[in-house]
Subunit: 428 residues, 2 copies
């Protein structure tokens, strides 16, 4: 039995898609020629949506439509269509700040819950590049521009409270998608849940150990409280390397349906977590001893760069463009107060760094012990080999989350990852 | 020229009030007799509203109607009528938790922005009692019940995220009232502002000193960030002793128009700030040396009781009624995790205590250097005597805010207040 959907909604298909696009003048012009010349292909490999690529004589577009259920699971897991609206709202809100790092937005259809946007080509999902051992020389600069600007400009440092509250209220309605994160990241990996899965029996013991680890469960719960109540900035909410499309020259962020006004460290942590997961997966993809050594180092360099350049850029924005209600300029005009404020900036970034480590760890653990996994690890065919990679990542993550203060600099994180990478099963 | 108001809105007067109430069956029954038997008196002494007491043969009601401007200042300071709606929403939301500590709610009229509620008699505004040196033996138990329950039950400890987000979104619209707090409490007392006033010239030097104090300006700005972004619970937002109506036996909280989902310490801090302001004002009201010594001690006992009993009750609720999304029960079922969670409760309360001290200090300073003052101090006729009381309160508040960690227990706060109380002008 099909799920109930609002009047006017129907899933698009090749037959329905072309007339829909033909009714949008900007899109028609962009595609060129006549609608009969346009060719649509459904390419969605995600869990939640239909995704069509449409090619015309002069250009292409991408159409992303929400389905009323999680595709992976089928109609047994209904999922609000409104997530398409929140993805659109995120893109619209962030466009002035980071438009060049997202697909261009052409149209949002509120009845179809469909976004028409730029078709990215020849971009690929960054995860695939990481599995293939590809370096992206511009990635660190681009993703740190994206994060520093999107987070800064929607925080109280740059925004007046009235605008920020309006933004907060709007995204408070994105409660169902937030709930997925609350359950899948912050809760289920740490208790018995039918949705959890892991490489078994190899990881049975560590999964049981994590479920019985009071320190870890407190640490994840503190992060959950932050996720539930810290309204710091408009975050992407799902900023892993599967939400990043790359070429050597270009970086674009997609899939912002989990967006809401939440803790900034959640976005930065997501990027770092996925670089570290990529790092720990490399041994599983090497076809010869040492083949991936150089690439592993690139991933750790990128990890360091992500924090260092993010922090530099965020601080620079704060120094130069702080027009929000936090730390009012009138209070910090004299030289002594300016100096004190600069020290405060360092302290705030330090707290954000610790949040980032905690959220990064949370995102690593959920990808190994929870419902949704990452292909970097899943595609390691030999389960023993995969489990070894996963176990290293889990041990690293557990320590990062519980003992964040033992990693005062991001180079301590990468050094810790290198040490963990050397451990054999007996030492884990 | 009258301010523009929405269609259907008009300020009530004696002539309009009675027919309005006659149209409300529940209220008519409560008042008894015929509308011609009802007698209305306007008694509003506040800044923002019309307040009518209406007496009928069988009972009385209170009608509170928002005016489109701040009454004290006149039509030069327009103020949204919607604050009446948020006060009503707060009362409706908190009624199941703390109904017996608020006036009973009879009716809300969305066109008139008017609340019809229980007329409290023979209650007086607590500030007047504090000036008169009156003890309220039930106050500590009542106000701590009110705070522990209203804050706990609207926090993530008791609420599901979906409900909490709906509540957050609703009160995000109360942005104009929040802005008053942001400006008058967290900003203006620390810089040059036309709205500031203080006992001059006696306090000119300390006002200038505070405006040039980088540590203090950082501390108040950190508290402001918390006020802007920490969505912990549905707070009253203006919980001073002017929002408390008391008899020896009964305590009722009124005037929740500043309510929003914010930091819990802001409410607890408001109560403590106003007890301490009452304490520091006593010397100004004594008609003979030592006359107020016993009452001063009662105020300090109440200050200690407010924190101690609040913390006990909040912890008890957390242990017994935690059905919210924070610290999920599934993660803390085993004995070791239960023990770890109990330690975490203590840590959370410790952080809330430090927040409370900071917000208390902020509320003390704004009442002496900012726009809105308190009658406990204002009614000290001799400006030198008043300034001495105020200076003690300012010095105490500055240390509380900047050096909160030097006051690890609430008894350190009261001991500090006692020491400050002994200082003469030369030592301040």
């Amino acid at each position: 039995m099909p799920l109930e959907t609002p009047p006017g909604y129907h899933p698009l298909d090749d037959r329905l898609l072309i007339p829909f696009l033909a009714g949008l003048p900007q899109v028609s012009t962009h595609l060129g020629g006549q609608p009969k010349d346009w060719k649509a292909t459904e390419v969605g490999d995600g869990n939640l949506n239909l995704v069509f690529l449409v090619e015309g004589p002069e250009g292409g577009v991408c159409v992303k439509q929400a389905l009323p259920y999680v595709r992976l699971v089928g109609e047994g897991w209904p999922m609000t269509l409104k997530r398409a609206f929140f993805e659109y709202c995120y893109m619209r809100e962030q466009e002035p700040h980071v438009g060049s790092f997202m697909p261009r937005l052409y149209h949002y259809d509120p009845a179809l819950y469909a976004i028409v946007m730029e078709r990215l080509s020849p971009h690929i999902i960054m995860r695939h590049g990481v599995i293939a051992g590809r370096r992206y020389p511009r990635f660190v600069e681009h993703i740190t521009d994206f994060m520093a600007r999107s987070l800064f400009f929607t925080s109280d440092l740059a925004m007046q409270a009235e605008r920020k509250k309006a933004l907060t209220a709007l995204f408070c309605e994105n409660t169902e998608l937030c709930k997925i994160t609350e359950d899948l990241i912050f809760t289920e990996p740490y208790c018995i849940s039918a949705r959890n899965r892991w490489t078994a029996p190899q990881l049975d013991a560590v999964a049981a150990e994590f479920r019985a680890d009071p320190e870890l469960k407190l640490a994840i719960s503190r992060l959950k409280v932050k996720f539930l109540s810290a309204g710091e900035a408009l975050i992407h909410g799902d900023l892993h390397t599967g939400s990043v499309m790359v070429t050597d020259e270009d970086t674009r962020i997609i899939d912002a349906e989990f967006a809401f006004v939440g803790p900034m460290g959640f976005d930065v942590g997501a990027v770092i977590a996925n670089l570290l997961l990529g790092y720990f997966s490399q041994e599983g993809h090497a076809t010869a001893e040492g083949e991936r050594d150089g690439y592993e180092e690139w991933l750790l360099d990128a990890t360091e760069g992500v924090w260092i350049r993010f922090a530099e850029k965020f601080l620079a924005l704060w120094r130069e463009q702080a027009s929000g209600d936090a730390y009012p300029a009138d209070l910090f005009a004299d030289p002594q107060s300016r100096e004190a404020l600069e020290e405060e900036r360092q302290r705030v970034l330090r707290r954000l760094y610790l949040d980032t480590l905690g959220f990064a760890a949370a995102k690593m653990i959920r990808r190994i012990l929870g419902l949704a996994h990452v292909i970097e690890l899943e595609r390691i065919a030999d389960p023993d080999r995969r489990a070894l990679c996963e176990l290293r990542a889990l041990r690293m993550a557990r320590d990062l989350m519980v003992n964040s203060d033992r990693y005062p600099a991001i180079t301590d994180v990468t050094a810790g990852a290198r040490r963990m990478r050397q451990r054999g099963r007996g030492e884990l």
